[in-house]
């Protein structure tokens, strides 16, 4: 008996076949519905490369990069204040995060855009004074609304990253005579990056899509561009689909960038 060769019969998974077939069926049905839909598919590529759409794309990219870049710098500053020995700085950071994280981005954009209603001029006495209307363009209002909200999130991400680095690392840096600034730059931040980069990448992807909120104050980003084009030809869905395609392109590129950044700062 013991020497007899026993044949192994693998477990069958019939339900995998069934569920797979159902999923394929659903996809086919959706594809058929799209093909049957009353939409001029042949017009979409034209809208995709329409000059107004490309201008909206450029504005979207500039706004997203500027807001995220500013948010990272501000976020580092707020995080350092949050971890500072100075109680006033600490409480300021807590209040800052509470306020700018707590309010909807759309609301913040609207408040910045309408700032001229309550402050005619932006000025520092004796130094300068400019009319609020002139300074607070749609771009600036969107930049402030998106960037300040994001900086509050970045502050928490950076704080978590800095706190994740072992205290022994700081002590070792001190023991070879490093100043606090060099310790931060050479020892703590590079190690904190591993914790900071993944959520920052996710937030940037959110930021790309969040720029669409600037359309409510008539900033010419992708959605507003799509609306501009469709207001002339009434092809609303065709232009929105063209904009959708650009969002997917940008988000895909951002994901690839995030992947390489994570690898560069990954564990050794």
């Amino acid at each position: 008996m013991a020497s007899e060769e026993l044949v192994v019969v693998p477990l069958r998974h019939p339900w995998r076949w069934v569920s797979g077939a159902v999923i394929l069926l659903v996809i086919a049905a959706l594809g058929w519905a799209m093909a049957e839909a009353q939409i001029q598919w042949e017009d979409v590529p034209g809208f995709f490369t329409h000059p107004v759409m490309l201008e909206g794309l450029l504005n979207t990219i500039v706004l997203a990069l500027a807001a995220q870049g500013g948010a990272i710098v501000l976020g580092v500053v707020i995080a350092l204040m949050r971890l500072s020995a100075n109680p006033v700085a600490r409480w300021f950071a807590v209040g800052y995060i509470w306020l700018f994280r707590g309010l909807p981005v759309l609301l913040q954009i609207l408040i910045w855009f309408n700032l001229a209603l309550i402050f005619k001029n932006i000025s520092i006495p004796m130094l300068f004074s400019v009319p609020t209307n002139v300074v607070m363009t749609a771009f600036v209002a969107a930049l402030l609304g998106l960037g300040l909200n994001e900086s509050a999130y970045m502050a928490e991400i950076v704080r978590a990253g800095l706190s994740s680095v072992d205290e022994g690392q700081t002590e070792a840096a001190k023991s070879i005579g490093m100043t606090p600034l060099t310790t931060l730059r050479r020892v703590v931040l590079p190690q904190a990056m591993r914790v900071i980069i993944p959520p920052t990448g996710n937030n940037f992807i959110n930021m790309i899509k969040g720029t669409s909120m600037a359309s409510v104050i008539a900033f010419l980003e992708l959605i507003h561009a799509a609306n501009n084009i469709s207001s002339r030809n009434l092809e609303i869905m065709e232009t929105l689909f063209a904009a959708a395609a650009w969002y997917l392109v940008m988000v895909s590129l951002a994901s690839i960038g995030q992947h390489y950044l994570e690898r560069a700062y990954g564990p050794r």
């Binding site: 072992d166 022994g168 690392q169 002590e171 070792a172 840096a173 001190k174 023991s175 070879i176 005579g177 490093m178 100043t179 606090p180 060099t182 050479r186 020892v187 590079p190 190690q191 564990p267 050794r268």
Partner: protein, 252 residues
């Protein structure tokens, strides 16, 4: 004047007084081992010597300079962290948990201080760092990251990193306590050869054998105070205080 002079050093964490007036002098080239039960304040005292902890009372001088302060006009002015950093350049420290920089190779760990703190040229520092790696027996590990090294190897790199700053004084905070027993020897060997070369060393350790063979003087601490001090032969083989006798009876 002694290289290290500590007078009446006191330190509390919250309501717990960890150091209750420690007096200690360490001469140039002397190797002093701090022994005692856990919680005696050995590590805390060591960390006070390079101002990783701020003392509450008393003074510590290293090479005639008050640690963490600037003496001027009969007063001691507390230093900024930046100026304390400058004082620490001359004092090397080796930690129980190695604390190597995990994102840098063994060689880069050793080069970090001379390049970033002293602003010296990379090429020259690289050559010195390679020599130091060879001295601790790890020449072939220059490109390895800490995670790729054993505990004993990491601790030897950590010693080399401290030596790269050409310190006047080396502080060892239980350097072998986190190591597998079979790796303790290689680290103690490096420390022994360092002592032979005339380095001034303060070593917190539980390695009685090392203290006996290498230390010039042994200081026995209990509850934040020095109970007994003398040559290893006196303290380890002929302890006078009952507390010392008790401790040694357990560990020997």
């Amino acid at each position: 004047m002694a290289l290290v002079e500590a007078v009446g050093v006191r330190k509390s964490f919250g309501h717990t007084e960890v150091l209750r007036g420690i007096d200690l002098e360490v001469e140039r080239g002397e190797v002093v081992c701090l022994l005692g039960p856990s919680g005696a304040g050995k590590s805390t005292f060591l960390r006070c010597v390079n101002h990783l902890e701020t003392i509450d009372a008393g003074r510590i001088w290293v090479d005639g300079v008050p640690v963490g302060f600037r003496a001027s006009g009969g007063k001691l002015y507390e230093l900024r962290e930046k100026d304390v950093a400058a004082q620490r350049r001359d004092v090397g420290m080796v930690f129980q948990r190695f604390n190597l920089f995990p994102h840098r190779t063994a060689l880069e760990n050793i080069m970090e201080g001379p390049v970033q703190v002293l602003g010296r040229g990379r090429a020259e520092v690289r050559a010195e760092a390679s020599e130091l790696l060879e001295r601790v027996g790890l020449a072939e590990k220059a490109g390895a990251y800490p995670a790729q090294l054993s505990g004993g190897q990491q601790q030897r790199v950590a010693i080399a990193r401290a030596l790269a700053m050409k310190p006047k004084l080396m502080l060892f905070d239980e350097p072998t306590s986190a190591l597998d027993p079979e790796l303790v020897g290689e680290v103690l060997d490096v420390m022994t050869s360092l002592a032979r070369d005339g380095m001034t060393m303060i070593v917190v350790t539980h390695e009685i054998g090392f203290a006996r063979s290498v230390a010039d003087r042994v200081v026995f601490l209990v509850d934040g105070a020095v109970v007994e001090t003398g040559t290893p032969a006196d303290v380890l083989d002929n302890p006078q205080q009952p507390r010392t006798q008790q401790f040694l009876a357990k560990v020997l």
